[in-house]
């Protein structure tokens, strides 16, 4: 029984700063491992897919390192899964940032460029407008929590999957939920105490899921 510090696999597919995500999960109480080991991912109680940079580059790297299938398997199994930033965007069908590059397609919708006439990227703190107060990832964060965003694209998906938005200056998809597949457009690992709470909420979901199995 490893329920004390559940094993959370942070997928390491060779892109920029993944260490912060791992650190944030450790701080929230996980045994968080940066890993590219399919066996370890298959045995993890929860999986995190971080991502920064270009959608096309990240998809390419995810496939080149052989980690797309282990990620899809983890999602299929119903274990808690968290996509962060481009790691959120990769869950969708495609992105305007890389036409012709298929996404993982486990969330319906297309990732679209933020509207013209605003500063792109959105590189700032912004408040969450929570659409689904019952979303377990957002427990204690329903009162306009501030999160750190860095992105020029965001998912355009069915409202029923949108747990929170932010205003920039139109509503931007900030958190999605489909069962235990969650994703955030912002960086919880860079969002101070509010981000810490979100990481703890994810860990709570991982622990609850362990008990169900």
């Amino acid at each position: 029984m490893n329920g004390d510090r559940p094993l959370v696999a942070v997928l390491d597919y060779g892109i920029g700063n993944l260490r912060s995500a791992q650190k944030a999960l450790e701080r929230a109480g996980a045994d968080a491992r940066l890993t590219a080991d399919a066996g370890l991912i298959a045995g993890a109680a929860g999986v995190v897919l971080p991502g920064v940079g270009h959608f096309g580059t990240c998809m390419h790297q995810l496939r080149a390192t052989g980690l797309e299938q282990p990620a899809l398997d983890a999602i299929e199994s119903g274990r808690p899964f968290l996509g962060i930033c481009v790691g959120m965007q990769m869950l969708f069908e495609a992105s305007e940032e890389a036409p012709g590059v298929p996404g993982m397609g486990v969330m319906p919708g297309i990732v679209r460029l933020l509207p013209d006439g605003i500063v792109r990227p959105q590189m700032q703190w912004n408040r969450l407008d929570v659409q689904r107060p019952d979303c377990p990832l957002l427990a204690g964060l329903t009162d306009g929590a501030w999160m750190y965003f860095v992105h020029s694209y965001a998912p355009d998906t069915d409202d029923c999957f949108v747990a929170a938005t932010c205003d920039y200056p139109t509503p931007i998809t900030a958190v999605t939920e489909r069962g235990r597949l969650w994703a955030t457009q912002f960086h919880p690992e860079k969002s101070g105490d509010a981000g810490k709470r979100l990481a703890q909420n994810f860990l709570a979901a991982v622990r609850a899921d362990q008990c169900r199995r």
């Binding site: 500063v119 101070g192 105490d193």
Partner: protein, 260 residues
């Protein structure tokens, strides 16, 4: 909603904060990680480290700083100084830095901006620009040139042309430091900052010259900067990050509320 970021900047030499830092409650006022963590607790929106280390082992020291900071600080941080290659950038990003800032190396070889952006994404490429006004005859509009070597050497490159070029190369953010205002404590060069904000679509961080909280407000309201960066007014305990946030909020500038 646009919210303005407040960013303290720390100069670091061989792993230590340059100049005294007069801060209540720090065990070691020369430790950049401890100081950054204190700024994080006060509600700093990001932290910038500028590495001025000249020694041979300097790269290892700054990478170690990135590693420790990533363990203690939970807001984004940027490291600038001495980054001349994709490998330099990779080492810092893998250690936990969120962004790297390039300055003179990009002036010498602009392709560096594209190389880092292609490899890691534009969001982590900050181009730091040192600009100084050219002498203008009466009636002419002001123009600014890009300077290197701490403002001592005029490159002859027009600053507005340069920022547009680095955006095309893939820069994700500009840190704009006025060589005329730097160290004066008389406020940002608002005309320069406004001109750069208007020239590019990416975020612009105003830097250089902050002596009062009103200067931060002016940078946000008059120059329309996306973020305001300052060093000495925070380091010497004159004002906390929370003071700065309150001043901005009182002036009607949206910010993430202060935490302390």
């Amino acid at each position: 909603m646009k919210t303005v970021r407040v960013i303290p900047c720390l100069d670091v030499d061989d792993g230590r904060v340059v100049k005294g830092v007069n801060f209540v409650g720090l065990r070691d006022a020369g430790d950049p990680v401890e100081l950054a963590a204190a700024y994080d607790r006060q509600g700093a929106d990001e932290i910038v480290f500028y590495d001025i280390t000249a020694s041979a082992h300097g790269r290892d020291t700054i990478i170690e700083l990135a590693r420790h900071t990533a363990e203690e600080v939970f807001v984004p941080f940027t490291i600038g100084g001495g980054i001349r290659s994709v490998d330099d950038a990779r080492a810092l990003l893998r250690a936990g830095a969120d962004k790297v800032s390039v300055n003179s190396a990009a002036v010498v070889r602009p392709e560096l901006v594209r190389e880092i952006a292609d490899e890691f994404g534009s969001q982590c490429v900050v181009v730091s620009v040192d600009a100084k006004a050219n002498d203008a005859s009466s009636g002419e509009t002001t123009s600014w040139n890009v300077y290197v070597k701490g403002g001592r050497e005029d490159t002859g490159i027009d600053a507005l042309g340069w920022v547009r070029r680095v955006v095309e190369l893939g820069a994700g953010e500009i840190v704009l430091n006025s060589m005329d205002a730097d160290g004066t404590k008389a406020g940002f060069d608002l005309e320069l900052t406004r001109a750069v904000v208007d020239a590019v679509e990416i975020p612009v961080v105003a830097s250089g010259g902050v002596g009062t909280l009103q200067h931060l407000v002016d940078g946000a309201l008059i120059a329309n900067a996306d973020a305001v960066l300052a060093a000495s007014i925070f380091h010497f305990g004159e004002h906390t990050i929370a003071d700065a946030k309150r001043a901005l909020l009182d002036a009607g500038v949206a910010v993430r509320p202060p935490t302390a």
